[in-house]
């Protein structure tokens, strides 16, 4: 597993600060250059401070943007330059309690926008950064101001924002239109049946709020990625949901059908929720066939290739972020490994897919 936090040493009296591990000459005062490399760690100097990192090689972090937390002596790798999977955790608060949530909400909010802004300004050229939570739009005004500020100084960046879609308003239309080409909205929809959706997200009235807000995204011409985690609770209704999406959400650029992640509430509810698509792909197949017939994009996230019938394998993306992805011992012999999503770090064979077959 790739480390997202590094041990760090620096003056505990300093306030937290954002820095970038310079590749070559420093471009700005936030850029850190290596001053000393020894067995105990790496010493860096920026225009403003010095710090040390431990248990990491300079090449691994070249170009990375770090948030140094002097009080806790930790460096958070906010942006890993070599990875396409960089996400800012906007907040851990959420108004929904989804059955399969991999990151259960917490009541308190720590405002990190100033650090995120500093980090985004140091991001590699053309980067797409994920914004996630909790529910990022619980802090909508600050979030939108942050995005405006980033775009004001970096017109090459874009964001992939995961939101439950509960907090859009008609007044947001102009803002959504203005940024439509640079924001991709990932919004979950679990069923076309309001009661089923509400049950899965743990909030009554959620679907009734979601539907008009999705219409707003459509009217804004926003880039929309619908996301549906397959669960025992909704798996058999996927063809109905596909029909709903193609009729009422034709403006969605793609529909991501996702397998569950066994962590957080996902671990707690695993036996109740996990749908073993390796032994029953029929409803998924029918849903995909409908999307294909109507020419709307569909993608499979977090599905190991051997669990997907051959006819649909081209849809299965290598979706699991590098830092939490693994393969099983059985995968060693598989010829498809290089193009396979593999498994989440916290996946367990004993209560996972029945049919894992190296190809």
């Amino acid at each position: 597993m790739i480390q997202l936090r590094l041990k760090s040493e620096c003056d505990r009296g300093l306030a937290p600060f954002v820095t970038r591990i310079a590749e070559g000459e420093p471009q700005c005062e936030e850029d850190a250059t290596l001053t000393l490399s020894e067995a105990g760690g790496l010493s860096y100097r920026t225009g403003l401070a010095t710090f040390r990192l431990r248990d990491v090689a300079p090449a691994e972090i070249a170009g990375d943007v770090l948030l140094i937390d002097p009080r806790r002596q930790i460096a958070h790798r906010l942006i890993r330059a070599a990875s396409p999977h960089n996400t800012f955790l906007i907040t851990e608060q959420c108004d929904q309690l989804c059955l399969m949530c991999s990151q259960p909400p917490k009541p308190q909010h720590q405002d990190m926008f100033a650090h995120f802004l500093a980090a985004a300004r140091l991001a590699p050229p053309g980067a797409q950064i994920g914004l996630s939570g909790g529910e990022p739009l619980l802090h909508k005004d600050a979030l939108f101001a942050f995005i405006d500020a980033v775009f004001a100084s970096r017109d090459d960046l874009s964001f992939h924002i995961l939101t439950n879609g509960q907090y859009f308003e008609r007044d947001d239309l102009a803002w959504l239109r203005k940024h439509r080409t640079r924001l991709l909205w990932g919004v979950p929809i679990y069923s076309d049946d309001p009661a089923t959706h509400d049950e899965i997200v743990g909030k009554s009235g959620a679907f009734a709020q979601l539907a008009p807000n999705l219409a707003l995204l459509g009217l804004a011409g926003a880039a929309l990625e619908l996301r549906t985690v397959v669960l025992a609770q909704n798996a058999l209704c996927l063809p109905r949901l596909a029909d709903f999406i193609t009729r009422h959400l034709p403006f969605a650029a793609t529909w991501a059908i996702m397998q569950m992640e066994r962590i957080g509430y996902g671990r707690m509810n695993w036996t109740r929720c996990f749908f073993d698509s390796s032994i029953d792909f029929a409803s998924l197949g029918a849903a995909i066939d409908l999307m294909r017939a109507r020419r709307q994009g569909v993608t499979l996230y977090n599905f190991p290739l051997c669990t997907v019938p051959r006819a649909y394998r081209d849809l299965a993306a290598r979706s699991i972020s590098d830092w939490k992805q693994k393969y099983l011992p059985a995968c060693r012999a598989c010829s498809l490994r290089a193009s396979c999503a593999g498994f989440f770090e916290w996946y367990r064979e004993e209560d996972g897919f029945m049919e894992i077959r190296p190809q």
Partner: protein
């Protein structure tokens, strides 16, 4: 609740097909149509219409917004890419029975682009406001002027970001130069294979030995560039059509998996001497019989042959944006980015418009490569190329999937405002779409086998067959 306007047409004596402007369709009993017409929809009717996106509660709600998006995607906007047909020569080394006007004898003079015309054609291509282009070489036999093809190809590969060439060739003559030209991955071949040996000879070569040469050339080209870059289509003389089984077998023999039945398109005097070509009943009967035979054969053999036009019409029914085939775009406004440039540098909106000019019925040139496009004429032609407001089409459930062909109307009737159901284009397409709908709703394993494979699906989802309560 507001229901979007529905159009309807009886599929048979029990069932009616209905659709809205977005192309969302469903099947209903005639009682439903009665309730709809009397504004007496039942609660379950209303639930169905709302659920399937044929109705909405408020402007801006999800059902309304979804409909707007689906409607807008049904309209062909164009832009981005161009499709240009070039006629570098009108000369041809064959004299097919159904080719009335679009050829000149092999040895004749003055039917090829001269050097100046070539330069002006390249200038015309250069000025197109696109970065993607498909250039189709027609004739005559374009390979008689390989030098002109090479000049255009070299220029286009430099000028455009994406380019594809289709050479419509009779493949009657091959040489090293032609084979080398075909080796490029961006070159596709479209040729004619009218069916079994004797049919091909009767229609096209008039000589068994020439047919042998063609068949051996076809085999050689497929062997050289693979089946992926070559397509063939049979032109059907409806007075003597080939037996469907024989025709399919002739295509299978070459490894083709798709064929595209095209009726002989008689022009001018020929049309008068072939009255059959004017009425569509014979064609529609043959076409239906062919599709049924094809479906039965696919089920029997387990192999999958596609009839391109039926597959294309099915795809157009099911999804928006299926506009790859120029004949069924709507609107299909003539422009420089979708034009034919003749051997003499005249520019036409379509191949048939070129023929009408050749037989001096009406000059539909929209400009020439020297003076550019004639904007006035383009403006005059535009309204005939959209079916959305046609007084007949607005009542037709197939309007969102269908197109227009005012040039064909003009050629057959001398005017473009004939009642649709009297036009060949309309009669032919009503029959195709009727058949497509019938097949879609036929839950017969033989039909599903062919349809699912034509559509690239594992099976036909039930949701593609909505039925009103």
């Amino acid at each position: 609740m507001q229901v979007w306007p529905l159009r309807f047409r009886d599929l048979d004596d029990r069932r009616t097909i209905l659709s809205d402007d977005s192309g969302a369709y469903f099947l209903a009993k005639s009682e439903f149509v009665g309730r709809y017409a009397r504004d007496a929809l039942s609660p379950s009717d209303e639930r169905f219409l709302l659920e399937k996106g044929h109705a909405f509660e408020r402007a801006g709600d999800l059902a309304h917004t979804g409909f707007l998006a689906r409607w807008s995607r049904r309209q062909y906007i164009g832009g981005g890419s161009a499709y240009i047909i070039l006629i570098p020569t009108l000369r041809c080394d064959l004299k097919c029975s159904y080719c009335q006007v679009s050829r000149a004898p092999l040895a004749s003079q003055g039917f090829d682009w001269d050097a100046e015309t070539l330069q002006k054609v390249l200038g015309f291509l250069d000025d197109l406001p696109v970065e993607e282009i498909q250039i189709e070489f027609q004739g005559g036999e374009p390979f008689l002027r390989l030098d002109l093809l090479e000049a255009v190809a070299a220029f286009a590969r430099r000028r455009f970001r994406r380019v594809r060439f289709v050479v419509c060739s009779n493949l009657q003559t091959l040489n090293e130069g032609i084979l080398a030209f075909l080796d490029s991955e961006d070159v596709l071949i479209s040729t004619s294979l009218d069916g079994p040996h004797q049919v091909h000879t009767r229609n096209r070569t008039g000589d068994t030995a020439l047919t042998e040469v063609f068949l051996s050339n076809l085999k050689q080209v497929i062997g050289r560039i693979g089946p992926g870059r070559i397509s063939a289509l049979p032109t059907i003389d409806i007075e003597e059509p080939p037996n469907p089984e024989d025709l399919i077998a002739a295509y299978e023999a070459f490894g083709f998996t798709s064929l595209y039945l095209r009726p002989v398109n008689y022009q001018g005097f020929a049309r008068k001497s072939h009255p059959e070509a004017r009425t569509s009943a014979a064609w529609n009967d043959y076409y239906r019989g062919f599709i049924e035979a094809l479906i039965a054969r696919n089920a029997r053999t387990g192999r999958v042959m596609e009839e391109f036009y039926m597959a294309h019409c099915l795809r157009r029914i099911l999804a928006p944006g299926m506009d790859s085939h120029t004949d069924l775009r709507n609107p299909n406004i003539p422009s420089g980015a979708n034009a034919v440039i003749d051997f003499d540098g005249q520019i036409y909106p379509s191949d048939e418009a070129r023929m009408l000019a050749r037989i001096r019925q009406v000059d539909l040139a929209i400009g020439n490569v020297s003076d550019g496009l004639d904007q006035e004429k383009l403006t005059l032609l535009a309204p005939g190329h959209i079916n959305n407001f046609d007084p007949d089409c607005i009542h037709c459930p197939y309007q969102p999937f269908c197109g227009t062909d005012p040039i064909d109307d003009l050629s057959r009737s001398g005017r473009i405002d004939v009642p649709r159901h009297e036009s060949w284009f309309c009669q032919r397409h009503l029959a195709v779409f009727d058949l497509a709908m019938e097949l879609l709703y036929r839950t017969d394993p033989e039909v599903e086998f062919s349809l699912s494979r034509w559509l690239g699906l594992e099976s036909i989802p039930e949701a593609l067959r909505p039925v009103a309560p």
